[in-house]
Amino acid sequence: MKSSVIVFPGSNCDRDISVALEKMQFKNQMVWHKESKLPKSDLIVVPGGFSYGDYLRSGAIAGKSIIINEVIKAANDGCLVLGICNGFQILTETGLLKGVLLRNENLKFINKDINIKVMNNETNFSKKYKKNEILKINIAHNEGNYFTNKEHLNELNEKNLIAFKYCNDEGDVNEKYNPNGSLENIAGIYNSKKNILGMMPHPERMVDKLISNTDGVNLFSSLLN
């Protein structure tokens, strides 16, 4: 399985995701933002960080970069695309995923381990998880408050496009366990073809027992099969 990690100036989780991918036996390449061609890839990862300093608006400038056109083309051709944190923000800026990520409700950067629930375990990203499985996973963001319009929200629910929701350690999804104010506790979503996943939590931080846990492993192993 070949993967490409897009590196923008200001990306800072690029090394972390490449370490995780290589650990999971992906053949990974780093792709610099000024490149105009993507290497042949089965998976494209848009990593976390502060692309272009997140100036103007999180992900806004990266959404207009040279390489991102290639990502859009590949995504439209069905390539698997994973956007994590800033990567999720960038994907919403390109329109590959609908909706926006607003400032966290408390207006503060939040870094902690939270619980999320696997809402759909029948996608290329999640098939190794059990349905409703609860994962403990790290979040680190200032703008993770997902918002979208009513029609899209209906579509997300009807077509089972919500990937993960914030919950407590028993799987209860409600306002109390929503770290950032996101709509319906949404932590990650798919596009309608389910070949693109955008998520605020960091699965690449959860593949090593020594520093955290291995709750992110199955996301990558799902992709391998």
């Binding site: 100036p9 200001g10 800072n12 989780c13 090394r15 972390d16 370490v19 995780a20 000024k34 976390g48 960080g49 502060f50 272009y52 300093g53 997140d54 100036y55 503060k108 950067f109 939040i110 870094n111 902690k112 790290n138 680190a140 200032n142 960091h202 690449e204 931080r205 090593d208 020594l210 520093i211 955290s212």
Partner: protein, 726 residues
């Protein structure tokens, strides 16, 4: 322009210093030259009041690769790995403009570390604020915390440990100290010493603006009612550009292009060029019209004194310009050859081919003034405060009061605003005795911690100085690391006041004594004087940042109780010293008396025994006993895991408050499995360490036999409520 007395005063130069300048130049300086002298001779850059005392600190050891005098200290952690680290203050700017002040404090210390060839792997901070009730505290706290997070989170270096304290003494002068730790290969360390005549001097990074002009001079004076006017001297940080600069520098450092490199920190282009030339016994010539400027019509004076952030000066090997330039262009950064090294031993400044200033390098560096300031010994209070004579308060109420106080309540609400996990090597985050960072791709790890004890230092500077080094050492031991070396940030009041200078001199004596005995040398540091407003000085607040090594890292050691029915052992003798304790401060509001004595023999002996026990994998959890004594230490261990304890009353007829809240030094709490107890006791006995078996862990309840009983959840609640109402 004629240099008038008013201009000299404005530059913070004393009249005898000005006379000296004229003597060195054999003429009157022009304004540019005066500005440069003022930037290099101020307290912040010249260490003129502190140098004499700093010299006495131990800075050598077989673990030390580079001690003080470089951008940061370098230590050996075995194989081909080195750790590069330093702590620095950004107190004055943070009080005036908390967000930018704190952010650029982080940015500055990171540059000190990556300038030397290290990839930064951890950030720490020690921040001190005034009383939570003071009208400025809340906004200062918010600004500083967001500034630290804003910079570290963006650049992608985890902020892994720190301390936040409150005390009236910082009402008008907060402290913001930032520490950065980086990892480098031993054979790839870069220094600031220039070598060779006629080598290219290259400016890289951000453009120069008018921000921060005379920032270092501002940090060398007390505040007054016009402090707000100093806002323009605070720099503005751009972590995004720093990230690019860091990656570009580290990329260039893989090659052999760099002769020497120096970041433009305090006093910007002036101090970086002077330092490089001075260390290399060379001169340097700069063509200032080539300096990339952000604003129009900038004068040589402004360029030389600007403290715009995210800039570096590099001296390149011949023929490497094109290659180096391609790297900086890749990262969209400026790269301009602005001058060359010379053999004149002078700083020569040209602007459009005209010489606009010329000063002998040694006048600015090695011959900068040094003061042997008058200092007075601290008058130590002999007042003893007997707990028996104080109003009776219940033990449980006292414990709750301490745990729910701003200083002792849980600080996760602050640390959760910092990305602690980026880089995926943070094995242990904030909230433990020390954070643990794995060396990327290796089996070893380092432990890092910062500590201060201003109350102890104020009441007895020598003991206080001794104690903070020991406490820091103990914190590293508690997570199973062998302490290697420290960096210190010495925050004090006005050194022209002999009482303050006395606090400084005596704290340093204490620091020296502990560092020497524990083989825990000082490899880098920073002095911040003039912390005070309108003659009101802060309490002496030296901050110690320590680094330790865990050679074979298997699993993190921390203070969270692991299971029920483990035996609880205290290591070290409990005498019951209460003066300067959390009990007296938080419950009785008493600040008289001396801090607890530090016995270095016991310190070392106890610590080495505990480290031996941890390394032998005989212990479930370890916590050092510090502020709040045994009871607060136990509560902290319980609250992290929701496992309770059953503690026996002290056997001898000691006062229970003295026993449970006393802050005697060199002590630890160990949680030991029944079946490991024998082996643990064997090690302790063989090491001649005093220990007591004081009880056992149990389900749910935090209990002292026949004295207190409370659910751990309730303790947790008390410990986590203060900030929700703040």
């Amino acid at each position: 322009m004629k240099i008038t007395q008013k201009i000299i005063d404005k530059h913070g130069l004393k009249s005898e210093e000005y006379t000296n300048i004229k003597k060195i130049l054999k003429r009157e300086p022009n304004l540019l030259e005066l500005g440069i002298f003022s930037a290099m001779w101020n307290e912040h850059c010249s260490y003129k009041s502190s140098r004499k005392h700093l010299k006495k600190l131990p800075t050598k050891g077989k673990q030390v690769i580079q001690g003080p005098g470089e951008n940061a200290g370098v230590i050996d952690i075995g194989d081909d790995d080195a750790i590069i680290f330093k702590i620095e203050s950004h107190n004055h700017p943070s009080y005036i403009e908390p967000y930018q002040g704190a952010a650029t404090g982080v940015g500055g210390i990171l540059r000190d570390v990556f300038t030397m060839g290290a990839r930064p792997i951890a950030l720490l901070n020690s921040i001190h604020f005034g009383s939570p009730n003071h009208f400025k505290t809340k906004s200062l706290l918010n600004g500083v915390v967001s500034g630290i997070g804003g910079y570290g989170n963006c650049i992608g270096i985890p902020t892994v440990a720190g301390e936040t304290k409150f005390n009236d003494t910082y009402n008008e002068n907060i402290l913001v100290n930032a520490m950065a730790v980086g990892h480098a290969k031993k054979n790839k360390i870069f220094y600031s010493k220039a070598k060779g005549n006629n080598k290219s001097v290259v400016y890289v990074g951000s453009k120069t603006g008018r921000d921060g002009i005379h920032g270092a001079s501002m940090a060398s004076a007390e505040f007054d009612e016009n402090s707000e006017d100093k806002k323009p001297t605070v720099q503005v940080g751009d972590p995004f550009t720093e990230k690019l600069l860091m990656e570009a520098c580290l990329e260039l450092m893989k090659d052999n292009s760099i002769i020497s490199i120096q970041d433009m920190g305090a006093a910007g282009l002036t101090s970086s060029s002077v330092e490089m030339a001075s260390k290399g016994d060379l001169g340097i010539e700069l063509n200032l019209e080539k300096v990339p400027c952000r604003e129009e019509n900038m004068t040589p004076y402004e360029m030389m004194l600007s403290e715009s952030q995210e800039r570096m000066l590099i001296i390149l090997e011949d023929g490497k310009e094109k290659y180096a330039k391609s790297i900086f262009e890749k990262w969209d950064l400026d790269f301009v050859v602005i001058g060359k090294t010379t053999n004149t031993n002078k700083l020569t400044l040209k602007f459009n081919s005209e010489t606009v200033g010329e000063i002998p390098i040694d006048a600015l560096a090695s011959k900068a003034p040094i003061y042997d300031r008058k200092w007075n010994k601290k008058k130590i209070s002999n007042k003893r405060i007997k707990i028996k004579n104080l109003k009776k308060i219940k033990i449980l109420d006292s414990l709750i009061k301490i745990l729910s106080s701003p200083n002792h309540s849980n600080k996760k609400w602050i640390t959760n605003q910092f990305d602690q996990m980026v880089m995926c090597d943070t094995v242990q985050k904030s909230g433990s005795d020390a954070a643990i960072i794995r060396i990327h791709g290796r089996e070893k790890a380092i432990a890092v911690a910062v500590d201060s004890s201003a109350n102890y230092c104020k009441s007895h500077p020598i003991t206080g100085g001794k104690q903070i080094v020991c406490e820091n050492w103990r914190n590293l031991i508690s997570v199973g690391a062998k302490p290697l070396a420290i960096t210190n940030c010495l925050n004090f009041g006005n050194p022209e006041n002999p009482e303050i200078m006395g606090e400084f001199a005596e704290c340093l004596m204490g620091i020296k004594e502990s560092c020497e005995y524990l083989d825990y040398p000082v490899v880098s540091g920073n002095v911040s004087f003039y912390n005070g407003t309108n003659k009101k000085n802060i309490s002496p607040t030296p901050v110690i940042g320590g680094v330790g090594l865990i050679r074979q890292f298997k699993k993190p050691m921390n203070h969270h109780f692991k299971k029920e029915n483990s035996i609880i052992i205290t290591v070290g003798k409990t005498f019951g010293h209460l003066e300067q304790s959390a009990l007296y401060e938080e419950v009785y509001s008493i600040s008289d008396g001396r801090p607890p004595e530090v016995n270095l023999i016991n310190e070392k002996n106890n610590g080495e025994a505990v480290l031996n026990i941890i390394n032998s994998e005989l212990v479930n959890s370890v916590h050092d006993i510090s502020s709040g004594g045994i009871l607060v230490a136990l509560a902290e261990m319980s609250m992290e895991s929701n496992i309770g304890v059953l503690i026996n009353k002290p056997k001898k007829l000691t006062n229970q408050f003295e026993y449970f809240f006393g802050e005697d030094q060199s002590r630890y709490v160990l949680e030991v499995d029944q079946n490991n107890l024998k082996n643990v006791e064997k090690i302790l006995k063989e090491s001649n360490v005093f220990y007591e078996n004081i009880g056992a862990t149990q389900k749910t309840f935090f209990e002292i036999k026949k004295e207190i009983k409370i659910s751990v959840k309730e303790l947790y609640k008390a410990n986590n409520q203060w900030y929700t109402n703040y």
